[in-house]
Structure formats: C-alpha cells, structure tokens
C-alpha cells in the first residue's frame, strides 16, 4: 500500500512539470509544384564571347525566339510570355522588359554575362531557360 501511495504521490508531483508553449507563424505549405517549361530560345547577341569593350558601357543585346516579352505581371504562366533577367558577374541587373540594354562597366576588368528568360511572375521556368555564360573584358582607360 505504501509503495502504491508513493508511486501516486510521485506521479502527482510530476504532474505540474512541463515546458512552455511554442509559437508558430501561420503558414501554409503546398506540396512541391511543377513549373511549366518553355521552348523559347534565348541567346546573347552582343557582346560576343571574349570581346574587348572600350569605354564605360557595354551594349547587351539578347535574341529571343519562340516567345515574346510581356510587361504584364501574371501568376498565370504562359510558356511563350515572359521577360529577360540579365546577370552581370552573377548580379541581376535592370532590363525593364527589353532585349537591349546599355550596362555600365569599369575599365580594366573582366566580366561574366548570362541571361535567363523568366515567366511573367518574375520566377524561372523549369528547366531554367538560361544562355551560356560569356566573358568579355573592358580595355583599360
């Protein structure tokens, strides 16, 4: 009887021990979704690989076939509509829904450049539609 009483008393003492409450951000997660693919072809027309640029700007020209540039933001993805994300030294730069852009560069440096055709929600297609990375140099001033 004493053992049983002790067991119960111990259990009762332990009753009030416990941790605090956790917090959580109300978040909903959907299962992994599939992004649409695009058959658009994107390539860098200018500068050409290994080009030596003179001055402080490089003129970047992109060729896009099989799709058109749209300024309209939409979460309804159409594989033939989107815009270009241009990466200079892996840094995304302003392209403003065009295929041509003058980009500021610094004399005496070498740069890498690639472009990606992304959907109208600013998010990539899958697989990603990316050009080859080209390298060019800027002549010393």
């Amino acid at each position: 009887m004493r053992t049983r009483a002790l067991t119960l008393a111990g259990a009762a003492l332990l009753t009030a021990c416990g941790g605090g409450t956790g917090t959580s951000i109300p978040t909903s997660t959907s299962s992994a979704a599939n992004r649409p693919a695009t058959s658009a072809q994107v390539s860098i027309v200018s500068p050409s690989p290994g080009a030596l640029i003179r001055g402080n700007t490089v003129h970047v020209a992109i060729a896009l076939s099989g799709a058109t540039i749209t300024r309209v933001y939409s979460t309804t993805i159409t594989p033939t509509l989107g815009h270009i994300h241009l990466y200079l030294d892996n840094q995304l730069i302003y392209m403003n829904y065009t295929l041509q852009q003058d980009v500021t560069v610094h004399p005496g440096l070498q740069y890498s450049l690639y472009a990606e055709f992304v959907a109208s929600d600013h998010f990539p297609f899958h697989p990603r539609d990316v050009t080859n990375t080209i390298f060019f140099s800027v002549a010393p001033s």
């Binding site: 049983r4 009483a5 119960l8 009753t15 416990g18 605090g20 956790g22 992994a32 992004r35 933001y73």
Partner: protein, 653 residues
C-alpha cells in the same frame, strides 16, 4: 512488490514521454493573435479583421463582430475562413471612419465543439483607449447542464464497461443482475449523449437545422452510432439470448463511445493528437474497469451466497489493481500535457480541478488498498467491511467523475498562455553609454507598431542609483530606408530615475534604432538601443518547386502581398527577390523599398535593393548563412501607403 515497482516505473516513463513531447494544447478555439492587433492605432481603415485561433474554429458556428462606441456594427459580410489556413477567421469591414472600435468574437471548436469568446479593441486615427471593451480571451464558462450531461455519459459508459468486465472476469458471463446493470448504464449513457450534444448545440446558439452540416452535427452522428449499437445489444441482452456475444458487443460499443468522446475532447487538440486521444480513451476505459467494476460488484453480489461474493471480490480486486495503475499513468500523462507548469497547477481553475481529481483518486487508491490487503484476504468474514468500503469508494468515485466532467468543459491553461503572453508582454531593451556612465532600461508596452507607452529607467552605471536627469529624450530611426523619417520623443519624469511618455513613434513594424539622450546639468550622454516591434507573425504561403527556388508569398494585409524568393536557394551569395502585389495579383507601383537581413545569431545587415522593373519588382545581393535569416521589408507605394513585413527564410531547407 516487484510488480508495483515496475508499474511505478511505467508511470514515470509515461510522464517522461509527456514532458518530452512538444507542448501544445488548444482544446478551445481561443484567439492567439489578430490583425489589427489588440490596442493598435491604425492610420487608415482596415479592409477586414482577421483573428488567428489556437484551434480550428467551425466557421459556420463562429462569428466576429466589430462595433463602434455607439454600438453600430461595421462588418460588411459574414465571418469566413481566411484563405490559406483554417486557423484564421476573417470579417470584412465597411470603410471605418476615425474612431475606436471593439471586436468581439465567438467560436465553436471544430475539434471538440467547445465554445469560447473574447473581445479586443483598436483605433483608426485615434487611440483605442476609449473603446468600451477591454481585451479579454476566455472560453465560455461551462454550464451546470453540460457538466451533468458529461457526468451521465461517463457514468453510463463506465458502468457498462465495468459490468461486462466483471461478468467475464468473475462469473464467466453476464449474470441477470449484471445484465440489468448494463441496461441501466446504456440508458444513462443515452441520456448523457443527448445531454452533451444538446449542451453543445445550445451553447453554439444555433438552430438544429444549422447544426446538421457543421462539426457539431458530425459529432452528434459519431456519438450516436456506438450508443445506438449499445442500446440494441442491451435490448437483446435483456431477452436472455446469446448472452456472452451480446455482452461483448455492449462492452465494445461502450468502449467505442468512449473513443468517440476522446477524439472530441481536449486530447484531440493536443500534439501528437493520436497519442493523446489514445491515452484519454485508455484513461476512461480503465476507469470503467475499475470504478464501473466496483458498481457492478456492489450490484451483482446482492443476495448472493457468501462464497460467491468472496470469489467475485477476489477476482475484481485483481482487475481493479490493473485499472487503477492505468488510470494513474494515463491521468498523469494527460495532466502533464495539459497543465504544463507548476504555476498553472495552483493558479488556474483547470489546475485546481486536476489537483482535486488527483486527491480523490489518491483517496480511492487508499480505500482500494484497505480492501485489497485487509478485507479481501479475509472474506467472507470481512464481507460487511468490504461492502462498506466499496460503497464509500463508489461515492468518492462519483465525486472524481464529476470533477472529470467539469474538466472536460474547462480550457486547459496551456491554451491561455500564447494569448496572455501576446496581450501583456512588452518589448524591452537595455544598454549603456559608451563611457559607461549610465545604464538604461526601456520598456515599450504593448510594443506593437502604433501607440505605445514608453518607460525608461536610468541608473548610475557603477552604483546602480537612480539618475535624475534634466531632460530625457528618445530618437527613433528605422535604418536603411527613407520612407519613415526619424522622430523624437521627450519623456517626463514620473519617479526618481524613471521617465515615461505615450506616443506612436514606432510607426511601422520592424527593428528600430533608438537613442536615449540623457542630459544632466552641462553633460549629456547617449545610449544606443535596438527595438524590434512585437508584431503578429505574417501569414506566409510557401510554394516549393522541383528544381527551382522556393517561392514565398507574404500576406502583408488582406489586399497586399509580397512575393519573395532567393536565387540560388542555398547558403552563400544569392539574390533576394521581392515583388509587391495587390489582391488581384497585379504588381503595385512602389515608390521606394528597403530590406534588411538579420542573420542567425542576430547580426543585421542592410541590403542594397535594386529595381528590376518600373513597377514593384526589386532584387538585392545577399550573403545568407546556414540557418534561419530574417528579412525585414518596408516599402512605400506610389500612392503613399506604407507596407511593412518580414519573413524568416532557411536557405536550402
């Protein structure tokens, strides 16, 4: 002795398991947070009121109302579930003019049918201080009818389980007296089931027609099925045919009804639900074996020969011992999950009821021990004493069951904790000046964006004595942005070394640099502080993509969202993208925006945001570490609306 030691170890293991489980209890749908927040002062009319609850409310039986100080309603439509998460209810609003507003909410839990209600206030253009309702979060108090109904349900079901168990355990099947006891138990459980569902429907304040399609309707059907099976089995049992199979069916039906009750109880709202529901079911089933068996023993030995009584008592004593241990183990397990802290055990109604129940069970265990070790070994000589103790046990057990019935209708303290903490916890910051002259401690209450009370204590750095300054002023700066200008706040002395003011300098959510200027005579010192407003965590929709970065949509307000991703989605050099969208998914023209990155460990860095189009898409170079980084985002739309939010990202996870 060895068996008792093993049993004790089993109890401790269960308690250990309970302590190791993540603590979350939310058996009533109580409000955990809201937008607008309690006490918030808004610059413009919100489109709606959104409340996040700790447990899924039944939207068809729950409501949110918003009234002004004259009692005029300002809701523009019915209360609905807020999109992504079933834990949120939303009430659309008409355009609110400047003034104070009181929000009252009422919920019926979709999990267990329990009701809860509460109220809070906010202001548009003014402090909500003059609103007539004060902040409150409370479950609706249980009605005596609800408690009595639950008691009848418990008593009926445990009498059935106890009678069937004793019948098979001591007599090889249900005796005529036990069959009548089973029938009585079935009738009482029917009354209890009707009472429990009736109390829930009555508490929900809806017509029966409104109940049928709701969670209460589903609960009603679920509860009714096993009770109907029990009644049918009992009816045939009373006819005296197929006694053993029918008794078995009655016992299983009663256990099924107990299972339905467990899955519609506090246990269903706790994590992990299945383990808690199983423990709850085992608890009440063991009560059936133990206490129900006691009742059955009292009834079944009436008029029986002494040797038969002695045989029944000995057999029951073994069953009761097992039942008691299971009741204790599962009861402690469930109590640890629900009560959580020593303070809750003595400081809440739920905790006091748990203590009372433990006390009654200890008394029952003591009485059981008297029978087991003194009376049972000496029957039939001690039969009279045995019956007297058993009768006392049944009376005490009735008390314990009444307490249990009340517990079912009272919210566990764990679910108050988040709401209470949310309501009262101020934001604090401490620091000292560069020359270590003074130490300051700043308390900002409630610490949300908008109107706050600031209390600054200033003490000598070395002696700790209060410092009486000629002038104390706070300067507020939201770093790395030009949207919110710096502002100053002059504090008034309220006591020696204590200065305070009430103002709305923390204009938006975010991490603020605050400088306390303390002027003493000709000298002045500055103490830099950092304050992060206490904000309702934003609702974030996470969209993972195979082979691409994960896309996060932060719901800044009902009509504004920010779409965020980092590319590449892994620690190291990456690009942080943010696009601001309206309710229709169109980009919002943004005049300016700023983002800061707080790395794991707390170091914060302002990111240089670049435009990627002429509307609302921005990108910044970031160097994110492994772990969770917080990105604070602030933007001003072309129309002057300020959007402020944050997101915590764990790259690559």
């Amino acid at each position: 002795m060895k068996r008792l030691t093993l049993a004790g170890l089993a109890v401790l293991m269960l308690v250990g398991t309970a302590l190791a489980l993540p603590a979350r209890a939310s058996a009533h749908a109580l409000a955990q947070s809201s937008v607008p927040a309690d006490g918030a002062t808004l610059q413009s009319s919100p489109a709606d009121v959104t409340i996040t609850f700790g447990e899924t409310p039944d939207p068809s039986l729950s409501s949110i109302s918003v009234v002004d100080t004259s009692g005029t309603s300002w809701t523009a439509g019915p209360t609905v579930v807020n999109g992504a998460t079933s834990l949120q209810l939303r009430a659309p609003l008409k355009h609110l003019p400047r003034g104070s507003y009181t929000v009252t909410w009422r919920t019926v839990s979709a999990v267990d049918g329990h009701q809860a209600s509460g109220a809070f206030s906010f202001g548009v253009g003014v402090s909500p201080g003059s609103a007539k309702a004060t902040s409150s979060v409370a479950p609706t108090a249980p009605s005596p009818f609800a408690v009595v109904a639950r008691l009848l349900l418990f008593v009926g079901l445990i009498v059935v389980v106890g009678s069937v168990t004793l019948g098979f355990g001591a007599f090889g099947g249900p005796t005529p007296l036990l069959r009548r006891t089973i029938a009585a138990g079935a009738a009482v459980s029917l009354l209890g089931t009707a009472g429990v569902t009736g109390a829930q429907i009555s508490g929900a304040g809806v017509a029966l027609s409104g109940v049928l399609g709701s969670s209460l309707g589903r609960s009603l059907i679920l509860r009714g099925v096993p009770v109907l099976v029990l009644l049918v089995a009992t009816a045939f049992l009373l006819r005296g045919r197929w006694l053993r199979p029918l008794a078995l069916v009655a016992g299983v039906a009663a256990l099924g009804a107990m299972l339905v009750d467990a899955t519609n109880s506090h246990a269903a709202g706790e994590s992990p639900a299945t383990l808690n529901e199983f423990a709850q079911w085992l608890h009440i089933a063991a009560v059936g074996v133990w206490i129900g068996g006691l009742v059955a023993l009292l009834v079944s030995v009436m008029g029986a020969p002494s040797d038969q009584k002695a045989h029944a008592a000995r057999r029951f004593s073994k069953l009761a011992g097992i039942g008691l241990l299971v009741v204790a183990a599962t009861g402690v397990f469930r109590a640890v999950i629900e009560v959580q802290t020593w303070g809750n055990l003595v400081g809440t109604a739920f905790g006091v009821l748990v203590l009372l129940k433990i006390g009654l069970i200890v008394i029952l265990a003591g009485l059981g021990a008297i029978n087991r070790y003194r009376n049972v070994p000496n029957v039939p000589r001690m039969l009279h004493a045995l019956r007297r103790v058993v009768t006392t046990e049944v009376i005490v057990a009735l008390g314990a069951l009444t307490v249990a019935a009340a517990l079912v209708n009272v919210a566990p303290p764990a679910e108050y904790a988040p709401a209470a903490a949310q309501a009262v916890q101020p934001v604090v910051a401490s620091g000292s000046d560069f020359g270590t002259t003074v130490k300051v401690h700043l308390t900002v209450s409630p610490g949300t964006a908008g109107l706050d009370t600031y209390t600054l204590t200033v003490n000598d750095y070395d002696s700790g004595q209060p410092v009486d300054a000629r002038r104390v002023e706070l300067t507020f700066t939201l770093p790395n942005q030009t949207i919110i200008a710096s502002s100053n706040l002059l504090l008034s002395r309220s006591a020696s070394g204590v200065y305070n003011a009430r103002a709305a300098n923390l204009a938006v959510d975010g991490t603020w640099n605050v400088v306390a200027l303390i002027e003493q005579g000709m000298q002045s010192v500055e103490v830099p502080l950092t304050l992060t407003t206490r904000s309702t965590p934003p609702v974030v929709t996470v969209t993972p993509f195979t082979g691409l970065p994960t896309l996060y949509t932060i719901h800044v307000t009902h009509e504004r969202s920010a779409q965020v991703y980092i590319d590449p989605d892994k620690p190291g050099a990456t690009e942080f993208h943010v696009t601001f969208l309206d309710a229709r998914g169109n980009e919002i023209p943004i005049a300016s925006a700023a983002v800061s990155d707080t790395a794991p460990g707390g170091s914060r860095m302002n990111l240089t945001l670049r435009r990627l189009d002429s509307i609302g898409h921005f990108v910044a170079d970031a160097n994110v570490r492994t772990g969770s980084s917080r990105f604070d985002i602030i933007a001003s739309t072309a129309s002057g609306e300020v959007l402020s939010t944050y997101i915590e990202l764990s790259p690559g996870s």
